[in-house]
């Protein structure tokens, strides 16, 4: 499956794109998505290990499985307020 992953803040700037398409097998986890993302966008290296993932509007654990409908977002630590 091909999952669109929305990027925010410095991750978006480093990738040079609002969204990247990541090829994954059905049932792949967030951890597998992280690896695939870093391989496809090595320019994310400076923020790589700190990147957070959300599915829908909830933070996703590394073990969470994904499917073709998963709305995935990826961003570095937040700094609002």
């Amino acid at each position: 499956m091909k999952l669109p992953v929305r990027l925010y803040a410095r991750a978006r700037d480093l990738a040079g794109a609002d969204t990247v398409q990541i090829e994954l097998e059905e049932g792949a986890t967030i951890a597998m998505l992280r690896s695939a993302l870093m391989e496809q966008c090595p320019q994310l290296q400076p923020v790589g290990s700190s990147l957070l993932f959300a599915v829908g509007t909830d933070y996703a654990a590394e073990t969470q499985p994904l499917n073709a409908e998963s709305q995935v977002t990826c961003f570095p630590p937040v700094s609002g307020g």
């Binding site: 925010y8 410095r10 700037d13 400076p46 829908g56 509007t57 961003f75 700094s79």
Partner: protein, 152 residues
């Protein structure tokens, strides 16, 4: 009451909205754009958000505060876009019957907001460099010439 806005925050209206005869205490926190940080001078901050998730997380903060303390009302507004020095980036008002619980709830709300709500700020330093603020991540300043793009 939870919201994101690109306009100036009306914190007076926000505070009025949480007042009640059932409460003896109201606490308002304002986050404002500070000029000096670590010896460097800021000229502006750009705030960006993942808006759907930011609203959902702010609502969860309100719900959790209500579970933990006898909160009467909570109102949180976060501003997005370009903010100048002194501008208000976030306003958080909470009302409770008594003051101790009001301080505890108010502090927990803003401390937790800053960890969980997907909003980010980008520093615009006075030397023209810009820099996303990502706590725990080594700073990656983009010098004026290498600015990777406009923030929108």
């Amino acid at each position: 009451m939870i919201s994101l806005t690109h306009e100036e925050i009306d914190y007076h209206g926000l505070t009025e909205s949480v007042r009640s005869d059932s409460c003896g205490a109201v606490l308002l926190f304002l986050g404002t754009v500070r000029e000096m940080t670590g010896g460097r001078r800021t000229v502006a901050l750009d705030y960006d958000a993942f808006p759907e998730m930011a609203r959902a997380k702010m609502q969860e903060l309100e719900d959790e505060a209500r579970r933990r303390w006898p909160v009467h009302e909570v109102a949180i507004v976060h501003r997005l876009g370009r903010l100048e020095l002194g501008d208000i980036s976030v306003a958080l008002a909470v009302s409770c019957p008594h003051r101790a619980e009001c301080y505890e709830a108010g502090r927990w709300l803003i401390d937790t907001l800053k960890i969980t709500v997907p909003v980010w700020k980008k520093e615009n330093w006075d030397d023209g460099a810009t820099e996303w603020v990502h706590p725990g991540v080594e700073a990656g300043t983009a010098p004026p010439a290498a600015e990777p793009g406009t923030d929108s």
